[in-house]
């Protein structure tokens, strides 16, 4: 029954996408706009199909319908309702269903955004491209990644249940959704850039629209990455949050290129420069989301996340190849026609700084990409299995990250076109003092180490620089009779909030990697140990039961506070899962993880103890970045008509669209 509902939904979705492609394609080729307008409607059919399939799957999960292989493998009768619901994306096939559904939602939002302008070549091609993407993912589910495949053989009385680590923590229930909202969100900007290339027009207003989608996708992707890191820290008991694992890199790569794009897009909107570069970044971002999905979902790269092997590898890599070939081909074909007039006047200018920013982000992306795919090449060439260790990634990203902090401090103060020494001195004096004073204060307080001192100093410089911009924007808003809060809205001002969030993350990262302490302690019952100024004692072993989770925990006291590090299992499974006990504060986390539990619950406890300074800043900084990104997606203060501009104001464009539709 549920399988039938699901298959019907998938077929409806695929039909909607294919019919839309046929109509839009025919309309574009024969020059009949009414056909393209008709194709628009089919995006609703795609969404309807996806929702029907999701309903089928959720119904199957909630009613524990083990006739479906996916449910039998990822659900059990004891699974709580929440984790039954999130079971949809707990394994490959369901994840593809989630991906397709999110894509259908974005598709419908895009169609509504441009409903009256589908006759324009950029939009009609973009619609076609989005429908092709949707058709591909629905075809995946009808082919190699069928979420509704029937259980082979006897129907089990009970299912295997979700992976223990996936029901440990609510963060895990949500972080994949954010990641997918981010990944899939780059489909629309990608479609718009393909549309621009095919139409041979830059369509600055479409670029503004692409940028807005990219900002929203960026916000979701950031949230997904930070929540994923937080979950890893909270669940895995290794005291860390980022391991340069292929799955993590797969999420980071499109984030890097998208971040580069969000900066260089401003150069295009303001000066009309870097057009081809921006289109390339959007194409690369989308291609990297597909490559990342291929790397992590096809089983070619062995990852700590060990997602299932599946038959979707060849399909995904072919799709990736098509995306890259089409993108490169179109840029080669249209490159000259779209090339920007003029160039950058002076290296010390806002656009010069954006260019450097782009080079650094691209360099980091290249480093991460090479480190991620290099093991694949080695294995393909000589059959050797290798991995690339953390030192490789750190040795490049740390200096590049520090360079980014410097440019983040200086760039907002640089004027467009050309900077004079006087202007720079006036604008940078205060932030530079903030950085210098911070540096001196830290040295006086006994902080040592070149990298952390440089990072903290530059962080203060960059944060002060961003704050200065925000204060100025608020003052300007007041002067125009608006609320000061308008000063944080809009592209550049929201961007400054993002900068502050990034500085907070950078400080947290630096502190956690430079000043963390780790040890393994074995403590007898009733005894006390000391580590880094903390008093740690072990009271007793206890058994606990918590819903469908049962296990054993050590009762420990650190500085008067009780800790319960645990090892437990779900639904009586033999897979033990350790849950660390963490006491978090803005300044320091104390983190205890059991390394083993003695048989019979007698004897000493052995725990890994981590003292992590400022690690909470990572999560807080992530929240600030997301907030800033959302603020920058909101329309900002109108530009004065006398300001130079190469773009119609977005508000004005919206009004024009509105007037045209009335």
């Amino acid at each position: 029954m549920n399988g039938t509902i699901g298959h019907v939904g998938l077929l409806v979705g695929l039909f909607g996408a294919v019919a839309g492609i046929a109509l839009a394609g025919a309309g574009i080729v024969t020059g009949r706009p009414w056909l393209v307008r008709r194709a628009r409607t089919y995006s609703y059919v795609v969404l309807f199909g996806a929702l029907v399939a999701v309903v089928g799957m959720e119904r199957a999960l909630l009613t524990h319908d083990f006739t479906l292989a996916f449910v039998a493998g990822n659900n059990s009768r004891e699974t709580p309702i929440l984790f039954s619901v999130t079971g949809l994306w707990s394994a490959l096939q369901g994840s593809i269903l989630l991906w397709s559904t999110i894509l259908a939602v974005y598709l419908v939002i895009f169609v509504r955004h441009v409903r009256n302008r589908v006759d324009e070549p950029v939009v009609s091609v973009a619609l076609l491209v989005s429908l092709v993407a949707a058709a591909f993912f629905f075809a995946l589910m009808i082919g190699p990644a069928d979420p509704f495949a029937a259980t082979v053989g006897a129907i089990p009385l009970d299912g295997a249940g979700p992976n223990a680590l996936l029901q440990d923590n609510i963060l895990d229930a949500v972080h994949p959704v954010f990641l997918y909202l981010g990944f899939v969100g780059f489909t629309v900007p990608f479609a718009i850039s393909i549309g621009s290339l095919v139409a041979g027009s830059v369509g600055e207003e479409w670029l503004a629209l692409a940028r807005r989608y990219a900002v929203v996708a960026f916000a979701f992707l950031t949230a997904g990455i930070v929540l994923g890191a937080w979950w890893s820290y909270d669940t895995f008991g290794w005291g860390g949050y980022w391991g340069w694992d292929p799955v993590e890199n797969a999420a980071l790569l499109p984030w890097l290129t998208a971040t580069a794009y969000l900066h260089s897009a401003m150069v295009q909107e303001r000066r009309g420069l870097l057009r081809i570069w921006n289109l390339s970044l959007l194409l690369a971002t989308y291609a990297l989301t597909i490559l990342g999905t291929f790397l992590t979902r096809s089983g070619v790269v062995q990852s700590v996340h060990a997602f299932s092997d599946s038959g979707i590898g060849p399909a995904l890599i072919s799709y990736f190849a098509v995306v890259v070939a089409v993108g490169v081909g179109l840029i080669g074909w249209r490159g000259d026609r779209l090339a920007s007039p003029g160039g950058i006047d002076a290296p010390v200018s806002r656009e010069g700084a954006f260019l450097v920013n782009n080079l650094i982000f691209s360099a980091i992306a290249l480093v991460v990409l090479v480190g991620t795919v290099f093991p694949l090449f080695v294995e393909a060439l000589n059959g050797q299995q290798v991995s690339i260790g953390r030192p490789y990634f750190d040795s490049f990203t740390v200096p590049l990250g520090i360079a980014l902090l410097f440019f983040m401090a200086v760039a907002p103060a640089l004027p467009w076109r050309k900077a004079s020494r006087g202007v720079l001195r006036r604008r940078l004096a205060l932030p530079a003092w903030a950085g210098g004073v911070t540096l001196v204060a830290l040295v006086a307080a006994g902080v040592r180490g070149l990298t952390p001192l440089v990072a903290f100093g530059l962080g203060a410089f960059a944060a002060a620089s961003a704050l200065r911009q925000l204060v100025l924007a608020a003052v300007t808003a007041r002067r125009h009779g608006l609320s000061a809060w308008r000063g944080v809205l809009g592209r550049a001002n929201g961007g400054m909030v993002v900068h502050i969030g990034i500085v907070i993350i950078a400080v947290g990262l630096t502190a956690a990697s430079s000043f963390a302490h780790e040890t393994a302690l074995t403590i007898q019952q009733g005894a006390t140990a000391h580590f880094e100024g903390h008093t740690i004692s072990f009271s007793s072993w206890e058994r606990y039961a918590n819903g469908n989770e049962k296990g054993r925990e050590a009762v420990m006291v650190v500085d008067g506070r009780r800790f319960y590090p645990r090892v437990g299992s779900f639904d009586g499974s033999s897979t033990g899962t350790a849950t660390p006990a963490i006491d978090s504060s803005p300044f320091e986390d104390v983190y205890l993880a059991l390394t083993s539990v003695p048989a019979g619950l007698v004897g000493p406890v052995t725990v890994d103890v981590f003292i992590q300074p400022l690690i909470a800043w990572l999560w807080a900084g992530g929240a600030v970045v997301v907030l800033g990104a959302l603020l920058s997606a909101a329309p900002g203060r109108r530009r004065r008509p006398t300001d130079p501009s190469s773009v119609p104001l977005p508000e004005l464009a919206d009004e024009l669209v509105g007037a045209a539709s009335r």
Binding site: N74, A91, A160, N163, A164, L165, S232, F236, G237, W238, G240, W242, G243, W244, D245, G272, G299, Q302, S303, V304, H305, A306, F307, S308, D309, P341, G342, G343, D345, A363, L366, V367, V370, G371, F374, V378, Q384, Q385, V386, S387, I388, G389, R390, P391, Y392, S395, F396, R417, K418, A520, V567, T575, G576, T577, A578, A593, L594, T595, S596, D608
Partner: protein, 158 residues
């Protein structure tokens, strides 16, 4: 040239091509340097992955270099070592057994019969492996006791 010139006028009057060529050369040099650095970095950071059987077969070639070795902990082979926290055990893959001296903290799920991946190197000319990190492989869940590659026998979650 004044900075207030309009775009089209400037693109006609400015000496365009030499500047562009210079930029191209600078970009090529930058890209080349970056490529060289990345190549050096990545080739020196390669860590090989061998099963215990493969490692013993390639003993001579591996020398004392660091690599990852995979095998199953032989039940009853664990013995306390000389230093605090040190211990020894054997891992097996196929017919081959390898003696391991470990100095790292074992993850929660370490135990007899558990498939593990160890990071370390062979000691001197012997077939004894010095391990400073133990990763537990698990067939049906992903164990991230340490952030590194963990290979499930069937690669699957379930």
């Amino acid at each position: 040239m004044t900075t207030v010139a309009t775009e089209p006028a400037r693109s006609v009057t400015r000496p365009y091509r030499p500047k562009r060529r210079r930029l191209g050369v600078a970009a090529a040099v930058l890209l080349g340097a970056m490529g060289f650095l990345i190549y050096k970095g990545v080739t020196s950071a390669v860590v090989y992955f061998k099963t215990a059987q493969q490692a013993v077969e390639a003993r001579a070639a591996l020398g004392n270099s660091t690599f990852q070795i995979e095998g199953t902990v032989v039940p009853g082979s664990k013995r306390a070592g000389t230093g605090s926290g040190n211990f020894s055990f054997e891992i097996s893959s196929g017919p081959v057994k390898v003696e391991v001296h470990n100095t790292g903290v074992p993850p929660q799920l370490f135990g007899p019969g558990v498939p593990v991946v160890l990071v370390g190197h062979f000691v001197g000319m012997t077939d004894t492996f010095a391990s400073d990190q133990i990763l537990v492989k698990h067939s049906n869940s992903y164990i991230a006791a340490h952030p590194n590659r963990v290979r499930g026998p069937n690669g699957s979650m379930h």
